[in-house]
């Protein structure tokens, strides 16, 4: 069901499912976040599908390692953290996604990239990488570089 834009925006705020919401204090509307990230990603020549696929591969490698730290891409370590329950997509109408997160990191002090099944879905289906400041924000260009994909 299509929601009016004002109602849809509420889905991205803190709720029963996401304690801090999906925007992380980013003042930009969702559509603007999507268009900014799409433009940045296009400059690298990488499609969002390619990035989503690479993230899913890394996510599954970490998920299937049952808590052990594993190499999910060359030089990238992944560790999976379990979480009980499911979470709906804030765009609505896409079903629910298992919780649990894979933390992807390299051996420097950079903050890990937190990848979830919902996060991957939102990139692939909606081009939404979440707002800046969100713990689950995936910086498209940096993450593509981290996973060593495409022609950036």
């Amino acid at each position: 069901m299509k929601q009016p834009p004002d109602d849809r925006a509420k889905n991205f705020e803190a709720s029963k499912f996401s304690g801090d919401g999906f925007l992380g204090g980013d003042p930009r509307p969702v559509d603007e976040i999507i268009s900014d990230d799409t433009r940045d990603l296009e400059r690298t020549g990488i499609s969002r599908d390619d990035l989503a696929t690479a993230l899913e591969t890394a996510y599954l490698k970490a998920r299937n390692a049952l808590g052990a730290i594993v190499e999910v891409a060359p030089g990238v370590q992944g560790e999976f953290f379990e979480s009980r329950g499911r979470i709906p997509c804030p765009f609505r109408g896409c079903g629910v996604f298992e919780k649990g997160e894979a933390a992807l990191s390299v051996s420097d002090s950079r903050k890990p990239v937190i990848v979830t099944s919902l996060g991957i879905h939102m990139i692939a289906a909606h081009g939404f990488f979440q707002g800046r400041g969100s713990r689950f924000r995936i910086e498209p260009v940096e993450t593509a570089r981290l996973l060593n994909i495409g022609g950036h």
């Binding site: 304690g19 998920r63 390692a65």
Partner: protein
């Protein structure tokens, strides 16, 4: 485009939008205040239980008014998809809100989101029998103790009403976190780790989820002596009534239902052969070691096998190392005559099922509580 032209477009659009909104609001109001569907019968499990409710409300809330609590995490907003029940007759068409949450098999099986089904006519439904014994409880937190750096044990005394909870080892409750720091009140599921014989208390094993609404409340705000709200018991994960040897596999807070089953086995002097494979990353992530070693002494046919997947090679750990599925496979190369009980992350469950079925275990002998 000049200002006048823009206004001439915007005014009608605004007018039509406002009109649409008012009409929609009037329809909702009319349904609530004017429409009278009268009493409607709900037949549950082909006559096993019959209730009469005032028509017009959701199936979820109508059942709750008669103390039948279908699990729900979103409070009836149609977004968590926890409240699925079979609606055999009288459910009406599948609505757009629930549509994306139903698989083709569920549609075929007449599964619906009970929060989205309006009771306007007689309705026939099917629900798990276990739901009949679900109740809402108030309790008092008697003890909160850390088990690892991110897992705590809660011991809750059931206070009112009634002051006893009947459950089967393996089941779970929903714990309600209140509003705090601008976060909404939520219900989250946690397996019970205590024995069903202890009816006036329950124990839970809860792992902290980074930024999780309920677990942040549990870890950072919930204090001993504080009142808590919960409902339960829920779930169909429990030991079967056979003599088949058991393989338990769990990790993290998946310990809880298995520990409850083992405590129950001790009380009933269980003689079933059972091996419990518990997976953790590092030695510091293990807990209940003393208790489980104690159970090994008390239950003659029970073996506990903890395994660490990421323990430094030079540590003092003398036990098993590796993924828990590999360790289980090494100990039980032929699981074809066993039953398996699994609790943990979806990844652990998926890997365990694959390992067990590859080893010849029939799929219908594998029971699990997949954290989803």
């Amino acid at each position: 485009m000049n200002g006048d032209m823009l206004l001439s477009i915007l005014i009608p659009v605004a007018f039509l939008s406002a009109l649409g909104f008012i009409l929609a609001a009037l329809l909702v109001l009319a349904e609530k205040k004017i429409m009278n569907y009268g009493p409607c019968d709900i037949d549950i499990n082909t006559g096993e239980k019959k209730i009469t409710v005032k028509g017009g409300s959701s199936l979820l809330s109508s059942l709750a008014e008669h103390d039948i609590f279908v699990p729900s995490a979103c409070g009836g907003r149609g977004s968590c998809a926890y409240c699925k029940v079979k609606v055999l007759e009288g459910g009406g068409m599948i609505g757009p809100v629930e549509d994306p949450y139903l698989s083709p098999a569920e549609r075929e099986g007449k599964v619906r989101l009970s929060c989205q089904v309006k009771v306007r006519t007689p309705v026939k439904i099917e629900v798990p029998r276990e739901l009949f014994s679900v109740k809402r409880f108030k309790g008092v937190l008697e003890r909160k103790r850390p088990l690892t750096n991110d897992i705590v044990e809660l011991r809750i005394r059931i206070s009112t009403p009634p002051s006893a909870i009947e459950f089967i080892a393996g089941q779970y409750i929903q714990l309600q976190s209140p509003e705090y720091k601008g976060r909404e009140s939520v219900m989250r599921a946690y397996s019970i780790s205590s024995s069903p014989s202890e009816k006036d208390h329950i124990e839970l094993v809860i792992r902290k989820v980074p930024d999780g609404i309920c677990t942040t409340w549990v870890f950072d705000f919930l204090k001993e002596g504080q009142q808590v709200d919960l409902s339960g018991p829920y779930g169909e994960f429990h030991l079967s009534n056979t003599d088949a040897p058991i393989i338990f596999i769990a990790g993290g807070s998946g310990m809880a239902p298995i520990y409850s089953m083992l405590r129950r086995m001790r009380e009933t002097a269980g003689v079933r052969q059972a091996t419990y494979f518990f997976g953790a990353t590092r030695h510091r992530d293990l807990f209940y070691l003393e208790e489980l070693r104690g159970l090994e002494k008390e239950l003659a046919s029970f073996t506990f096998v903890p395994a660490l997947s990421n323990e430094p090679p030079d540590s003092e750990w003398k036990g098993e190392r590796g993924l828990i599925t590999q360790v289980a496979q090494k100990h039980v190369p032929d699981p074809s005559k066993h039953e398996a009980y699994l609790c943990g992350s979806p990844g652990m469950i998926d890997s365990s099922i694959k390992m067990l079925t590859n080893g010849g275990m029939p799929a219908n002998k594998i029971f699990y509580d997949k954290f989803s």
